[in-house]
Point group: C2
Chain length 401, copies 2
């Protein structure tokens, strides 16, 4: 169990040895700025392992291609998320760095070139985008555009031979996600979704608590994410660009929070959608509640809203509980449980781990944890949620279909 | 606004003077063991009042019948709640006291008579119950029986000329509640529901925060209450005795938490019911989620369950929030908000205030805050919730119907 978690955190291989039990190899352990957290994870791992298991850090060094240079990342779309989160995070990454930008706004291009010493040769607009194919300084294209533009630019990046990270939600619908996965497969490039929380220590700890059953088997979860949408002109409110308001924007977190913690995929959903301000919310729900049924018997209940602030994950077993509040925000997660506070050190930006893990996947030719399949999974669930709300019916999800 | 809260807390009249603004009279303020809390309420009241308002404690003493003796309470049904909560609370009450018991178990009668110095003359069983009519030492009958027995014993108590408190949930259905209200009206006795939280400081503060709009207008609420039902033979799991499992037992709190905080009655509900353990949950839901729509536009989402522990109230405005966790438990409520912790002193038992308020209603011939109408209101909502879950449809509640 535990060796899997460690693998998720580092993006590095876990090596299982039949004779000695378990041994973990981590190239970065000595010099990694995240080693404080790593050490805690290893400690937790040791505590969780049975007496027959052996956990040795830095034993059996895992041979892989040592990166001669950090992989180059080009950010596509220089909005708030790129500006305040991704570019700063890329100043802390070990295996990749900010190397290029794609923007339709010349003034932004100038400002970013200056601020981050980006050469003119690595600056593109949406007309010149496909010329990325000729630029060996760019290894990874990170698509940070409005939701409706994800599919087009992920597919164009793949065709340009670049590995791709697609911001969440992956696409507007299942078909788009499948097309992106297919395009990346055909081009032989790796695809990941911008799921920063797959690498966030509190979320990993909550997942470990649930799946180790340390506090019992999770029977009920509640997840919620919402904020007051102050800008009625935001693309997030545009059905064509955003794809569906709060449930598309915030729903992936609420869905993920439940299914990743429980470690199962929901088999059925019910959902309720509400619109209070019909002048602003046209063709999309303002608030949405949904309930997920998991095959092991657990249930979850979730809220997403553009009306007001809520940010929480809660899991309860028979007599114990654990959770996060704030939970899904990019900073400041706080954990609590019936067994005491969950206090973990965190890197300055959640995206550092996310980006370095993807770079490691490329360097070592491993499958990304936050894969296209994971992004597709959430869109499949959200699609069922919206259908459930639209029809007022319980919708089953066929994972074999 | 505020003078209304004070009235609710004390069960005493608020006197409005046109010339001087507002003046509050409180007989008990000087000697009341709850004066610490009262003073805080008054302070909050003063802070909340406009500059033209005048709040004077103990001015304009309100003439009422001074109680020569504490009113006598007879507890009907000596289960856990009577044993661990009501009897101990009645050792702290100012206006009423434990005077009698009704039990079908002779051993319990003996033990209680000894422990609480109850004379044999005030001890009844279910055959002799109606002879309460002849006992002037008993003023109030508190029905603490399984839900299905509430209506019968409330009505018999009323016919015996006794004021009645009925434990929650008031009855199995709307008709029963209406019959109880009618019987008490005809007998000229007062009726209250055992809603301890109507008098609990944290709940009053949450209600004040919502209705003063001090942190903004509440747009979304989440309430949840659940525990692991360890005893498969509990009457609470019996459809006939309990009336419907978690939603009957715990749902009144989740409903109340939303409607009392928001200060409105819901106009429509959607709900989802689930059964995981079909051997134990026969004809009742094990877990139930429901969503309430309020006329002012607020929404609430609630969970009730017999699978696992959850106990929370959360209210969010555009950018602020406040809530309680634990919220509905008989002890240990803790409040937090975007504006800091909600820390209030509380009496040793929530039922002290509840019982003294009802005694004051009798002594002063005022309408109980936790009236039969309030109990009926929650049953009407729960009835709609169950219909919504059974049918999968949104159910509107017609409050004029």
């Amino acid at each position: 169990m535990e060796q899997q978690n460690i693998d998720e955190v580092t993006g590095l291989k876990t090596h299982n040895e039949k004779e000695t039990g378990i041994s973990v190899s981590c190239r970065c352990l000595a010099e990694c700025p995240l080693s404080q957290f790593m050490n805690r994870r290893l400690f937790l791992g040791q505590a969780a392992l049975g007496s027959g298991a052996l956990l040795t850090a830095q034993a059996n060094p895992w041979p892989s291609v040592a990166p001669d240079r950090k992989l180059g990342v080009a950010l596509v779309g220089l909005g708030t998320y790129s500006t305040l989160q991704l570019a700063p995070a890329l100043q802390h990454t070990e295996r990749c760095q900010l190397a290029g930008i794609v923007t339709g706004t010349p003034a932004k291009a100038q400002a970013w070139m200056q601020q981050y010493a980006i050469p003119q040769a690595n600056v593109y607009d949406y007309q010149t985008f496909d010329r990325l194919a000729d630029n060996p300084a760019i290894d990874i294209v990170y698509v940070v555009l409005p939701n409706a533009m994800h599919a087009e630019y992920v597919i164009r990046a793949a065709k340009a031979g670049k590995h791709v990270i697609c911001e969440k939600p992956m696409g507007l619908n299942v078909r788009e996600c499948e097309q992106m996965i297919q395009a990346c497969r055909q081009a032989g490039v790796k695809l990941s979704v911008g799921y920063r929380l797959y690498f966030e220590p509190h979320h990993l700890e909550v997942r470990r608590l649930a799946q180790s059953k340390e506090l019992g088997t999770v029977k009920l979860m509640e997840t919620a994410l919402g904020f007051s949408m102050a800008d009625p002109k935001s693309w997030r409110l545009n059905k064509q660009l955003g794809g569906g308001g709060a449930i598309m924007d915030l729903g992936v977190y609420a869905v993920q929070g439940a299914r990743r913690t429980i470690g199962e995929d929901p088999i059925a959903v019910t959902a309720q959608g509400f619109v209070r301000d019909k002048a602003v919310f046209k063709g999309i729900y303002e608030s949405m509640f949904f309930q997920l049924e998991f095959p092991g018997g657990a249930l979850s209940s979730s809220s997403t809203t553009y009306t007001s602030y809520v940010d929480r994950l809660y899991a309860t077993t028979g007599y114990q509980w654990f959770g996060l509040q704030p939970a899904f925000n990019a900073t400041g997660a706080r954990g609590d449980s019936s067994n005491g506070k969950i206090e973990l050190s965190t890197p300055p930006f959640q995206q550092i781990r996310q980006l370095d893990a993807f770079a490691a996947n490329i360097l070592d030719n491993t499958e990304p944890l936050a894969s296209g399949a994971e992004g597709l999974k959430d869109i499949r669930i959200i699609d069922a949620i919206v259908r459930a709300a639209d029809t007022g019916r319980r919708v089953e999800i066929d994972w074999n279909g």
